[in-house]
Amino acid sequence: MNRRAILEEAILPPFVALLLAAVVGDVLILSFGQSPGDVYKLLLDGTWGNAYGFGQVLYKATTLVFTGLAVGLGLRAGLFNIGAESQLAAGGFCAALAGMLLPAGIPALVCLPLFIFAAGLGGGVVGAIPGVLKARFGAHEVIVTIMLNFIVLALLNYLTSEKFHVPDTLHTPELKSGPLPRLGDMMDSFHGSAANATILLAIIAAIVMGWYLFRTRRGFELRAVGLQSHAAEYAGVNVAGVTWRALAVSGAIAGLGGLNYVLGYKHYYEEGFATGAGFLGIAVALVGRNHPVGIILAALLFATLSQGGLAVNAIVPKQMVDVLQAVVILAVSTSVPEVRRLLRGARRSVES
């Protein structure tokens, strides 16, 4: 297949999905007795139309880039990581713990590697468990990651509420050193929004993942296992090794997403700080077609939707956005095989 054909197959489904979501959105808006045009205008004004709204979009997109990259990396290896939800929480929790242990007054740049290590370790361990169980026992990673979500979130709930919380709150003590600057500190117009320097880490993570997947031998092996694991094994790839490494790295990337909240926004771990971001990561990876560039764009799209929900809440329920997000996922996943079949059929009929 040539480049153009690959691009067509990758880009068409998300557009079909957006179109369908817009139609469903119209129906929901009309059912609430409002005009779709007004609502969409309000949605855009409240997100990309002003610096605060845009800052919130960037903040939400940052977390989604991490979870999207995590799910995308797994999918490239043919593995479905549904555990981003708890890996993200574990990463944030470990970063907050590291912040409690560090003495005060250390410059942010010095302890940043430590925080990255802590968050990556937290998420990575949670990701490695299904990886090892899959590689060693063949346990299906989908079920194991779902079950681990509940286990890890219950464990974090126990640790936070019984061991580490500040009295009368449900969060851990604030970091003593190392918080990252917010965009509002640098540019006045962003004042009040949660966007912060973690966004640079997200972009770096996307670049590193692109390089790893498409420019290194390990990345090539990973993609080979994802495309045809038997063929890869025959060619000498250690499939079990690739499997557990891919899930561990995927978990670590999701864990880094916790830094956005803990280092950049509130400076402590709080239960439910990013509820739903792990599951939306699946949507982001899917719409972004598991490509780092696509994932960044898709993260911006889903962040715009969820921030936009708050912007339109005065005239239509913000819950409309939850429906639209589900419709996008449903439509993309349903149209991917169909678009491929139709395009290939059309091409064949042209060629013959």
Binding site: L28, S31, F32, F80, I82, L133, R136, F137, A139, H140, V142, I143, V144, I146, M147, L148, F150, I151, A154, L155, N157, Y158, E162, F279, I282, A283, L286, P317, Q319, M320, V321, D322, V323, L324, Q325, A326, V327, I329, L330, S333, T334, S335, V336, P337, E338
Partner: protein, 303 residues
Amino acid sequence: MNALDFLAQTLRIAIPYLLAASAGVLSERAGLIGLTLEGYMLGGAFCAAATSFAVASGMPDQAGLAPWIGVLAAVVGGALLSMLYATSAIRFRADQVVVGIAINLLAVGLTRFFLRLFFDSSSNSPRVPGFDAKGAGTGFGALVHDPLVWIGVVMVPSVGWLLYRTPFGLRVRAVGEHPAAAASVGVPVARVRYLAVALSGMIAGLAGAYLALDQHQFTDGMTAGRGFIALAATIFGRWDPLRAGLACLLFAAAETLQIQLQGTHAIPSQFIEMIPYVLTIIALAGVVGRAVPPAALGKTSAE
């Protein structure tokens, strides 16, 4: 609390699990992953509450009928969601895991949206009529008045009978195990799968109806992961209805114990919460007797 109360409480908690796990076994034995149970239950719970409320307020003289029509609505709601899932996964060969997650998100979104639209609330519906009889008290006395309890108890053996004693059940197991072989002897693979998934949506819808009518209202996200516990029971019960039913009772007993232990700090409640999930992972990893899923489970292009 005496032993009888403990059993009654366990059964009360187990009913939605028994229904949803029966649905899970049916769907998974036909080859379609039961990730969507949570969504069916939530959709069913909302349909039951909204319809029961509408009937009771629209026809006050027929108030006794309200919960029954609510149950019917839950069955329809579960069936609609399950047909959406089946159409994507079977007709369009979409990835079952992705579609399953989308269906769950859709159920969350739609119930929230219609909660705002119908009841102008983002948390719960008003009180709706349920099945309870006056003066029945607590424990088993209250349970026997709820027809959904009876349906829940009977559902597990019924699905077992359907799967193992009827031609339809044989076909369900065949399309879940080896669809190509089933097709070669003339089994309409897609049609059997559609039917199995539709039935599973209806049964899981009943589980949601039980929750809503038992609590006399719909609250946002009221299924609270129960669909996934039912999925855990399906797997822990190795895709067999009776074993899955026993797993449901086991998980429900653990939950009852947790409620009893609350405040005593003997064991942190979070650790008891983990039990179903930990057991399922252990079963999947095959430490004690490996759980082997139906061969065609989750495979999209196998037709």
